[in-house]
Symmetry: C2
Subunit: 370 residues, 2 copies
Amino acid sequence: MADDEIEVVYRLRADPSGLDARVEALLLEQTVEMGREALRSAHAREHFVGRVIGTEAVGDAEFLVALAQPAEAAAGDPAQLLNVLFGNCSLQDDVELEDVRIPATLVRMLCGPRFGTAGLRQLTGVRGRALAASVLKPMGLSAREAASLCRTLAMAGLDVIKDDHGLADHPGCPFAERVRLCLAATAEAAETTGRRALYVPNLIGSPATVLRQAREASELGAGAVMVSPMLLGLPGFNELVRDLGRPVLAHPAFGGAQRISPVALLGKLFPLFGADAVIYPNTGGRFSYGPEVCAGIARALREPDAAIAPALPVPAGGIRAENAAAVLESYGADTMLLVGGGLLEAPDPGALLARSRQFVGAVHAFPYLP
Amino acid sequence: MADDEIEVVYRLRADPSGLDARVEALLLEQTVEMGREALRSAHAREHFVGRVIGTEAVGDAEFLVALAQPAEAAAGDPAQLLNVLFGNCSLQDDVELEDVRIPATLVRMLCGPRFGTAGLRQLTGVRGRALAASVLKPMGLSAREAASLCRTLAMAGLDVIKDDHGLADHPGCPFAERVRLCLAATAEAAETTGRRALYVPNLIGSPATVLRQAREASELGAGAVMVSPMLLGLPGFNELVRDLGRPVLAHPAFGGAQRISPVALLGKLFPLFGADAVIYPNTGGRFSYGPEVCAGIARALREPDAAIAPALPVPAGGIRAENAAAVLESYGADTMLLVGGGLLEAPDPGALLARSRQFVGAVHAFPYLP
């Protein structure tokens, strides 16, 4: 691929007889947004009109259409890049963004994961096996209750304990107090276990709020944070990670990824914009992704087709101590398994501790074969 | 509706025999995110679990499900509000966000359009008829070419001339230079026409970039700006408009609104977050919205069911001088008609001027009956 082109693949429903015209319209829609014959500016015609790489029938009246758009159209800006990829055509019912390939100049602009899998492994000290993560929830816990839960999970040997993405700055559970108490809880547990769990607070709010929370989390000593890029906005997410100085887990909330394929959004765009680890709904859980989609997300994160660091897949949903080994069997151990309800629905603290240990044990037992 | 509840309506595909369980799961998914029986915290159970208002069958295995969620869950924050509305369940294939009703406390937090229809009418001096708007494009124009086009459109009497949403800070058409030259062009045209067109530059980029562009636009004297809220992120958009001090047009790029109904996203959420006017794909154009959807968007903007100012509907796409009257017939004149290709595909500047005047004439001729 030329370094001055953005490659985009769309899944397009079209009548075969009208395919060429539809593809031409799609090509022009995403940059000059007018018919070729109406382009009076020679500069626009020569520099801002892309080209069709190819089309491939993949079903009855369904095609994969590969386009090359001029990198210049993205103007070196994250939001404008999204705009060229899926701005207007996101509103067209017959189009789904299927795949993207970003030239090196734009990859350097976005930069991708600053820490990635390697950084998270270094931070947690976990090598040679998968990482075990859990969640502080439900919304409605006080900061003290969250910290108590955090201590229990840390005592159980969880590697990563993250806030639920719904924990915001609720008056009953203020952000700074929660972070302070949960970090104290992991430190306290470490005195017994000899290893400190990574507590990951959830940053949520308008850009200014998220920046303030990032500062507070940093001052309090949090080693990593979680953000929902689609709630924050992908360009704001990219701006945040530039100065964050620590790994960020991306949560798919508000992703509504069906019109962007989940692999493209969660597997490619999220890390391109800076996610070091990406949480996604695991197959068999309460979401609709099939096993191929989940495997595709994991593969895209681990083997980025852009020059960025690999990011860590974090399947979540429907995972329990009992099936952790089977999940790892399918993903391999270069994975963070995220278990929420499967642990937290234990009837009492003792059972929670036991169940958590069982989960941790299952994760520890699965070998890492790089 | 109680002031401490957020009302959300989802369109849900479900087997009737499993409906109750599915609705219960959806209710819990969006706040506590765990089964009711697993909620050990009394505070969470009493303050963060919503209730089912009702379900209504609307088709074969399709239902409208109205839920009331505790306003407290939104923690007074724009991003967290989105999270409660359509965070996780946006990833579930069987759910579409259909409608929302926000309690007054949260409406005051978001504030809605700062200027709205009334402010835009005041700014443009257009009363008693619809507003006529057009676009500077294609991407690839130099700032000088854009200004020349702007001058022509202003001479034709357009009320509003906006950048294409794809005009970013391209090296060949830098933002500040474009704004300066286009404002000069509308001033120059006003010496002849006696009325100054409103030039609306497109702000696009990461939050910091957009803030810088907003400052520049203000210093250069732009009366309004355009933003794509889904590209910027809705919470960042809401933050931007707090200090913007001028009306903002919202562009639907990256909206991919099918999984949020277009009426809910463009007609309700965009203005709730601060859009004073909302551009949306008009029916019969190159997008897929039917006439009922478009009418629904316009109605939602004009008659907000929250205590916010009405915002101005801006249908766009497929509108030409020839059908402008028919479009106004369907929308009424409290509308901004946005025409791009229908004017810009004219073969030469003279024809463009003539065609634009014809469009302006059609808009002027349509009476405003409030």
